[in-house]
Symmetry: C2
Subunit: 176 residues, 2 copies
């Protein structure tokens, strides 16, 4: 399954931390890359630094034009899912996403109104107000049926848990 | 199932937005209340305002002593689960939580080291770095087997989705 996350409505400074969490979740929970519809080099560098240390092939690109990216994705027969509290609740539509190419669009507080029309699906993770980070994470988890939770990133840095210990051990392992 | 979320390590200003998301997710995803181990009236008032408009009985209390709250919870035969990337991965331990009373502890970037020892379980949502909001949300979703996604909050404000429409409709309904 190919999954790309598109972040729209990012406001530099105010949204930096939340958007960084969106990027980290995208990577940790099975997306292949993230498109950021804003210019924010510090987020790009934070995410790339995590990839370098923790492994995997996750990519990030900022300064994208979100309308063009959505159009391109649909032209290439990909499906565009916009996560929004105004959408249809996830349990009612989860079976529609058996496609191989998903673009998941995550907005900040205000999203451009035409995004609702441009997306193939507007999906809510409950119709209650909460967090785009939570919505993205639960969506990624459901659409991959939890398989992403046991992915191996083969990074230089990794955490080794021990079922007999309360506390896992962090260790940094050089690549041989 | 009774679930309470305990937020530790909150730094006023820097963590306000993330902690607010933690509170909103706790409410939207089935927890009954949240304890905040810091003094931050603005978060308390934001969450209470959401409860008043969007419904449900979610409660929040700040200025708690986290060690005392954990001790009290364990004394009352509740189980304490600390979410941390250094813990055991969720799929390996999810079957341990068939209890009726769960305290879910969510830290910020740095957590007090003795939290690992005081918790009954240290659980990771993947051993990769991402977001306490994501970890909490996926944990709440798994432990309730997705049942929380269709809860009815009976709030004055609610969103009514329509399977035949791309866009749901927001409407505000007075309580009769």
């Amino acid at each position: 399954m190919e999954i790309v996350v598109l972040r729209v409505g990012h406001r530099v400074d105010r949204d930096r931390r939340v958007t960084t969490h969106v990027g980290l979740c995208s990577r940790a929970l099975g997306a292949q890359g993230m498109l950021l519809a804003a210019s924010d080099r510090s987020i790009v560098s934070t995410i790339r630094d995590v990839v370098q240390r923790w492994g995997g092939n996750f990519w990030i690109r900022d300064q994208v034009n979100w309308r063009q990216e959505i159009a391109k994705w649909k032209h290439d027969r990909g499906t565009v899912v916009h996560l929004t509290m105004y959408g249809q609740n996830l349990p009612n539509v989860i079976n529609h996403f058996e496609t191989e190419r998903l673009m998941v669009v995550v907005g900040a507080e205000k999203v451009p109104p035409d995004l609702f029309r441009l997306a193939d699906y507007n999906v809510a993770i409950t119709n209650q107000p909460h967090s785009e980070i939570a919505a993205l994470s639960i969506f990624l988890d459901h659409v991959q049926r939890g398989q992403e939770l046991t992915a191996d990133f083969s990074g230089r840095t990794r955490i080794v848990g021990n079922l007999n210990e309360k506390v896992g051990v962090k260790r940094s392992e050089p690549i041989n």
